[in-house]
């Protein structure tokens, strides 16, 4: 059973130079959620004939694409042993600021009316800056990541309300909505984007020195330092990438919804953590894989879809959703036999 031992155990497993482990996409631990997904697919198919149609399943993927990017970001940050709660505010604020800078004041803009094509880079830049600022407080001021990003969650949410004046922004440039709205080869672009980014993430985290160093830092910072890894640089980079991914998720969501509401992203961080943790990402850092996190996103999406198709009474919706998430956790614990962290 060497497979179960392999790359998940942190610092000791940075690959020896020259010899890379053979390509194995789904390792044992990663497959923990596959039984849960299969069961959900079977249950869904039995409950409603529409469930297994491509239209419906593509809908699930599209609806989960923004969440999946947040989970990708959070998974990498958790693997590095840090926390970022502010992602749920970044997903709303980054697009709001970018749009407010380009639209006229009559559409609740800030009056700058910059060129419309600037909206996309501005949005991504905002995400990067929020990530960088988190990094500054966590690394240079040596503050707890949990509290720093909790403070940022509140601050950035407040900035969102302040900049938008609490209004929904309706007038969005077409270029900004392109990624979230268009389809390519029958699949929504947003699904392509999140799949592509997950594949890149999986490859980098499994086969590249830079990616492996995330596990090293998260598993044992001191050992990582001793091994010559510039740990602060790794953490900072991951936080910035996290902010950019959240901003990108905000763009996808804006394209899907056609406007930015004042509560976009509010409460989303709970789903992000639920998906990451049922996907096998450890809250203590150094463990878990992106494939697992992706499975977590799918599980959540399928649960929501089945509840919607069966038109569960609104008063009980959240209770049932919560119980099914707990069941998925138990199932993944039983199928792998490993203690959850």
């Amino acid at each position: 059973m060497t497979e179960t031992l392999s790359p998940d155990t942190g610092a000791s497993t940075a690959p020896a130079s020259g010899r890379r482990p053979p390509l194995r996409f789904a390792r044992f631990r990663d497959l923990a959620l596959v039984p849960a997904i299969v069961i959900l697919l079977v249950v869904g198919a039995l409950l409603d004939p529409t469930f297994l149609t491509t239209g419906n399943l593509l809908g699930v993927l599209q609806q989960q694409s923004a969440l999946s990017l947040l989970v990708l970001a959070e998974a990498m940050i958790l693997i590095t042993g840090k926390f970022d709660l502010s992602l749920e505010s970044t997903i709303g604020f980054a697009p709001v600021l970018a749009i407010a800078l380009v639209v006229p004041t009559s559409a609740h803009g800030l009056g700058t009316e910059w060129a419309a094509w600037l909206a996309v880079p501005l949005c991504l830049l905002t995400g990067a800056l929020i990530g960088a600022f988190n990094g500054l407080l966590i690394l240079k001021f040596q503050l707890s990541a949990f509290i720093v990003t909790l403070g940022m969650l509140i601050t950035v949410r407040g900035l969102h309300e302040g900049v938008s004046g609490g209004n929904s922004l309706f007038q969005i440039p077409q270029s900004f909505m392109f990624l979230g709205f268009e389809t390519w080869l029958g699949l929504p672009l947003s699904v392509w984007i999140s799949l592509a980014l997950f594949v890149v993430g999986m490859v980098v985290l499994s086969y590249f020195r830079q990616g492996r160093s995330l596990y090293a830092v998260g598993g044992n910072v001191d050992a990582a330092k001793a091994a010559g890894i510039r740990t602060n640089k790794v953490i900072w980079t991951v936080l910035i990438i996290g902010g950019v991914l959240a901003a990108l998720a905000g763009m996808l969501e804006t394209g899907r919804l056609g406007a930015i509401g004042a509560n976009l992203g509010d409460g989303m961080i709970f789903d992000v953590f639920a998906a990451a943790v049922i996907g096998g990402i450890s809250l203590n850092g150094g463990k878990g894989t992106l494939f697992g996190a992706l499975c977590g996103v799918l599980v959540l999406g399928l649960i929501l879809n089945i509840l919607r198709l069966t038109a569960v009474d609104g008063h009980w919706f959240n209770a049932i959703k919560g119980v099914i998430i707990l069941l998925a956790l138990v199932l993944s614990r039983l199928t792998t036999g490993k203690a959850q962290e």
Binding site: D48, T50, T53, G55, N56, G59, Q62, Q63, S106, E161, G165, G166, N167, S168, F170, F181, T183, E253, G255, R256, L257, G258, A259, G261, A262, N263, L264, D266, L304, N305, R308, L309, A311, D313, G314, H315, F317
Partner: protein, 347 residues
């Protein structure tokens, strides 16, 4: 019977507040028949298009009606903030309070305290479950649900499938609209199937629900959204991406009724993308709330019955009066009416 201990506590609170007011150097007269005394306004939230319009109208009508307005507070949709804000306003010398408690139960003790101190309260948009208020200013949210139901029912020829985006079920207005819509559908149009989608007022949840439902039932013919501000753009975007966005008049057009009456909804009605909305009178809310606050300070009293502004004052029990403002249904026929507040702002 009020237990002794709690009345001692109340006396203590009163004393503290009086001391606080005196300490701040505010004039502390009895406040009878002084139309110029200070009026404190608390706004319920800052993140909805409807309430933002209300927030804009308050100072405007304050000037028009010559009300001595204090700087307003905002309780961010939380009743504990509202309680604290009211205390602050009182401390700053407010002699009348205008508030819009979104939690109609938990405000009871605050109302009791204000009554003991002879500070009249006008509530906007919601009617408190218990406690004394001078006047409730609101449009009947149950009527929103009913108007939407009747419009869709007739439009669809009394049969077919309808999707309903419910607001947060924990909010009284969301609940009122949902219950009235459900009851009206059941009583009048039993052949219409209603899919109730809980959304917590979130556009993202509404979009996902609609996409799923359209896959499941491609023959959906009607949509009722309980708040245009949050649901309009996501709904249109989903219909656009699934090729369901057809102008009114097309045989496959999906009939859409909304609530709120913001300018974007009017725009969509003109384009034929949606069919109707119920205009919730943000301007009248602000105007009549301040009117009654001033009237209370001047010592006026009101009786149930029709008013001079096309509304009716009704006795809602508890000795409380409610001025039920009209909330007109806006369709293509009257969408350009200048009197609608949605046509007055942003121009």
């Amino acid at each position: 019977m009020v237990p002794v201990r709690s009345s001692i506590k109340t006396v203590a609170t009163v004393a503290t507040v009086v001391l606080a007011a005196a300490a701040c150097g505010q004039q502390s007269g009895g406040g009878t028949a002084d139309g110029n005394a200070k009026v404190g306004v608390d706004f319920p939230r800052a993140d909805s298009d409807f309430w933002n319009s209300y927030i804009k109208y308050v100072p405007q009508f304050g000037k028009e009606l010559d009300v001595n307005l204090m700087p307003s507070t905002n309780s961010q949709n939380k009743v504990e903030n509202l309680v604290a804000n009211v205390q602050t306003l009182q401390g700053q010398g407010a002699k009348a309070i205008v508030m819009a408690p979104q939690d109609t139960g938990a405000i009871a003790t605050t109302l009791q305290r204000l009554e003991q101190q002879k500070i009249p309260v006008v509530t906007v948009d919601t009617r408190p479950d218990s406690g004394k208020v001078y006047m409730v200013v609101r449009a009947d949210n149950k009527a929103y649900g009913e108007k939407a139901c009747k419009f869709l029912g007739e439009k669809l020829g009394k049969k077919g499938k309808v999707v309903e985006f419910q607001g947060a079920l924990s909010s009284v207005n969301g609940r009122d609209r949902s219950e009235a819509f459900a009851k009206c559908m059941k009583d009048n149009y039993p052949e219409i199937t209603v899919f109730e989608e809980p959304t917590d007022w979130e556009g993202s949840k509404a979009a996902s629900a609609l996409q799923t439902r359209l896959n499941q039932h491609p023959d959906i013919k009607g949509i009722y959204m309980q708040a245009g501000g949050v649901f309009l753009a996501p709904t249109l975007q989903v219909l656009r991406s699934t090729n369901h966005l057809l102008p009114a008049g097309d045989p496959n057009h999906i009939a859409i009724v909304s609530n709120d009456g913001i300018p974007q909804e009017f725009e969509a009605i003109r384009k034929g993308e949606i069919d109707a909305t119920v205009s919730q009178p943000a301007d009248l809310y602000a105007k009549w709330a301040l009117f009654y606050a001033k009237a209370a300070l001047e010592g006026k009293t009101f009786k149930p019955g029709p008013t001079d502004h096309e509304s009716t004052i009704v006795d809602v029990g508890n000795g409380n009066l409610e001025d039920q403002l009209p909330a007109p249904l806006v369709t293509k026929d009257n969408v350009d009416d200048k009197a609608l507040w949605g046509n007055q702002i942003g121009k």
